[in-house]
């Protein structure tokens, strides 16, 4: 990691490096490398942190642009909004469960309401904290943040997309939430393609079934389920909805025009997140039935690693296939 940071200096170099090493780079490290590269180019970019340690290199190299606010997320978000009088953009880094849930009112009023260029980056999202338990899980963040006007909500599907998304949210003039996990995950792409905020990526052309997923594990589940259905002779499309807000309604409606069933997949509550957003769009046009795969509406106090918890929540290839077939009837 330290060698990576020292030798990858520019945005283009970081993109090349992350692409070549996308299978082993964690999304949060791809983000950290890219943030530093962006900050070298833009002396007005500020990086705030609430006692995180993945951006140590930033503090060492660009101390003027870095402020550690300690374990105090409400203050960090307020400071981020205040800093925008001179610094743009301002990245505010924390663990998703705390940066979002604890500081929600500051995000609502000081950032989203004010439409300021504050980019909240939350790691450990979804069930990525595994055995650390429900205090450290972030399963409501997509639902609450997408309720706020002006916010852009982005969930990169792998380290390559995380690097691309970091550039995109930095360039976008408004507030954003970038949702990241913890461990490296399998790469989703075979080819380098352009990343555009608010434009879903088609990973498999639409069929009788349409899988819409956001984030690393859900997209891998969707890809696996689509392959398995194809093996069974049932055509299935796959959309990577990396931007949950603004939702790519055009892509959803186009893809489900001929679909007989839609299945959404997210490592977030099945309530209010991507599934909720897709239902809002599909229901308004009287589209096909939608099944939502996500964490059930119970306090999730199970002990286990991320994979175990995802399995328990039904965020699995077998459940995605079963839901799709059941919806087809």
């Amino acid at each position: 990691m330290s060698t990576d940071i020292a030798t990858r200096r520019t945005v283009a170099q970081v993109l090349d490096h992350v692409w070549e090493n996308r299978a082993r780079v964690e999304s949060r490290n791809a983000y950290a490398m890219m943030l530093l590269a962006l900050a070298r180019e833009n002396p007005n970019l500020a990086c705030l942190t609430a006692d995180m340690n993945f951006e140590d290199h930033f503090a060492g190299e660009l101390p003027r642009q870095h402020v550690d606010l300690g374990i105090a997320e409400q203050n960090m978000i307020g400071v981020a909004a205040g800093l925008t009088v001179s610094a743009r953009p301002v990245f505010a880094n924390g663990m998703s469960p705390f940066a979002i849930a604890r500081a929600f009112e500051q995000i609502k009023i000081d950032v989203a309401g004010a439409n300021l260029p504050v980019k909240i980056v939350g790691t450990h999202a979804g069930l990525a904290s595994g055995h650390y338990g429900p205090t450290h899980h972030s399963l409501e963040d997509l639902g609450v943040i997408r309720m706020l006007p002006n916010m852009t909500v982005v969930v990169p599907a792998d380290s390559w997309e995380a690097a691309q998304a970091t550039v995109a949210v930095a360039e976008d003039p408004g507030p954003a939430y970038l949702r990241l996990g913890r461990q490296a995950t399998a790469p989703l792409y075979q080819e380098r393609g352009a990343f555009v905020l608010g434009r879903a990526r088609v990973l498999r052309e639409p069929g009788r079934v349409l899988f819409i997923a956001t984030g690393p594990h859900p997209n891998l589940v969707a890809a696996g389920a689509a392959r398995e259905l194809a093996d069974q002779g049932v055509s299935a499309g796959h959309l990577n909805m990396h931007t949950v807000k603004p939702l790519d309604q055009e892509a959803v409606l186009h893809a489900c025009a001929n679909a007989e069933a839609v299945v959404t997949i997210e490592d977030h509550r099945a309530l209010g997140g991507l599934g909720g957003a897709v239902c809002e769009v599909v229901a308004e046009v009287g589209g096909p039935p939608v099944r939502r795969i996500g964490v059930p509406d119970i306090h999730y106090d199970l002990v286990g690693g991320e994979e175990y918890l995802l399995h328990h929540a039904g965020i699995t290839v077998s459940n995605a296939v079963a839901q799709a077939l059941d919806a087809l009837g």
Partner: protein, 267 residues
Amino acid sequence: MSRGLSLEIRRKVIEMSASPNGVHIGGSMSIADILAVLYADVLRDPAAEGMSGDRDHLILSKGQASAALYAVLAATGVIPQAECATYAEEGSRLGGHPMKRLPGVDFSTGALGHGLPLALGVALAGKRFDHGKRAFVILGDGELQEGSNWEAAMAAAHHGADNLVAIVDRNGWQISGRTDDCMSLEPLADKWAAFGWRVLGVDGHDHDEIRTALTRPVEPGRPTVVIAHTVKARGVPGLEDTKQSHSATLGTAARRAALAVLDGDRA
């Protein structure tokens, strides 16, 4: 000049308090002198259009005192004088809490405990990005019960934000009654000092004392808090230092009586 401005602020707040929706008269009157000194003698370009540069910023964290802020913005020509008459009317820019869409308001406030973190961000902008920029924030005393203030207090001292000045309107009241009956704040000066701040105490209605405190040379590396001892609803007969002054509508007779007191002060 600040004396005339404070009278003008009070006069406008009394006029706005005709609103059937009620005005936070108590907390607006308790900061009238603080605002007058700030706008007359202390702040540099507080209503400049752009946010960057070495201008000063004032954040009214106790946003419920919006009427006093509207009054000073009108009196100093930032918004039209006549606009005060639209306070809380449907479609007005002047709501019960100040909104950023109004010229002279850099941050929307009203949810308590937001102003000090915002002001610290502005102060750090002055330290790191726009040298010379200063941040002033007016906090309510009851507001200090919100924990985010103490997160910001700790961070401001840690990061040496000596271009940050917090003014605590210590009028001693909050909605439910006496502040220290609801939640003890004392020893308030010691609390700020323990967090690493320079603490100054003033009579919040004595313009010379306020001015002296707000124009003191900075103490390098330390933020400053001015604890302004004030009287809720200062200058309004029958409402001074009362719980019911928190939010009220004044009838014609009450407004006339209050304005008469102000005219007496002016004479």
